[in-house]
Amino acid sequence: MQFLDSFGVPSAISVSVLSLYLKELLETNDILQNVWVHGEVSNCKTYPSGHCYFTLKEGDAQLSCVFFKHARQRTSAPELRNGIALAVNGRVSFYERDGKMQLYVESVMLLGEGALFRRFEQLKASLEAEGLFDVERKRPLPPAPSVIGIVTSSQAAALRDMLRVLRSRYPLARVILSPALVQGAEAPASIANALDLLNEHGEADVVIVGRGGGSIEELWAFNEEIVARAIARSRIPIISGVGHETDFTIADFVADYRASTPTAAATAAVPDINDWRNDILAKQQQLAVLIQDRLSDLKERLERAEYDLQRVSPQKIVIQRRLQLDDYTERLQTNMQHIISLQAERLRGVALQLHSLSPLLTIARGYAVVRRDVDQKVITSVQQIQPGERLTIQVQDGHIPAQVQPT
């Protein structure tokens, strides 16, 4: 831990500040405030005040312990001496004056001359040597078991806790309780038998074996070999959930999955349908998106096709041709009119010319046309007429009847 002053230079904190910090760190940790620790007693000293100080040793580690008079009296604790195996319960804190971490003992349990404890260690060692704790033996838990076997006492609060968790997380399941005594002399055989029965029945997909918290002695059945063997031979995967977070039993080591408490065991056994609800919702959204995408893709393709179709449409050619036709018609009409007026002009010229050549003009100048009445033939020679023959003389403004002089 390093504090910096306002210039960014490391500044030291006082020992008491650090001590206080450590103390607070330890005292706000739930596990450290109620923990069972086992080991061998050494440096044991009881003062006239009635307080007892000792060191708990195990392997290469040691822990300072204080057992105050009031706690000793309250629990009528046995006299402690060096060399005995002990399980102590209490809270861990930091003692500023000596600068050390220590355990303030609330109660102790003699493990005899380490009798129970030694049995625990021996059994653990031999089962471990046999390979019963091997990771390769651990079977995976079914992700969504339809039948859950439970081995515990039908009277226990632990059962109610587990059912409450299963109800809220995974009500699709069926629970089969295989009842067992979970403390006392008959408990180990009862638990083993209950496990065997569930295997014989064969419907459970996973089995939870456990009980709620208690003293080491109350939990002891789960440290017995007969229970360990029943767990090991189970064809159904086993979840252990014994006592509190800090309790470790032989059953925990053999089980396929160790949960810290019965409640945690039930939680580990099943999925949560609330997650499934979210999954279903996500799937629904995915379906909607997929069909929307599909439809808008089709719509887009349709629009593109329409556009393409319009581009190559014969309608366009028809329109083009029609325009061309209109153009031609107009040009044809213009040309035609031009030709007509040209012809009219020529006609007028010819008419004028014709007019100038007309015999009527000659008549107007004083000439006359003579026709004989018999056949209206124009007389151009005296040979054509007989004396006394009737004639008509055409002049500019009319006809004059006439007769050839008789001879």
Partner: protein, 82 residues
């Protein structure tokens, strides 16, 4: 209840229905599927989702107790009332 690939939907377990829901999505992801078929998959998927939700809604944990009949040494399960 509508048929889903030859089975009445209400005979499906949650897992089966959910699997089919996932299958509808996989099928819909195939962009080459004819539209009427895609719409069918969509509709079926939505119905399956609804069915799954319904199952979760009405699910109730059933609790039984294993009991040994000492007479003929057989195992049976009885409802457990706590």
């Amino acid at each position: 209840m509508k048929d889903v690939k030859g089975r009445k939907m209400d005979t499906l377990s949650f897992e089966e229905a959910f699997e089919r829901l996932e299958a509808s999505i996989t099928a819909l992801q195939d962009g080459k599927m004819p539209l009427d078929q895609a719409l069918q998959y969509y509709q079926e998927g939505m119905q399956l989702a609804q069915y799954c939700n319904g199952l979760l809604q009405k699910a109730e944990l059933s609790v039984q107790q294993l009991s040994v009949d000492t007479g003929n040494d057989t195992l049976s399960v009885l409802p457990l009332d706590l």
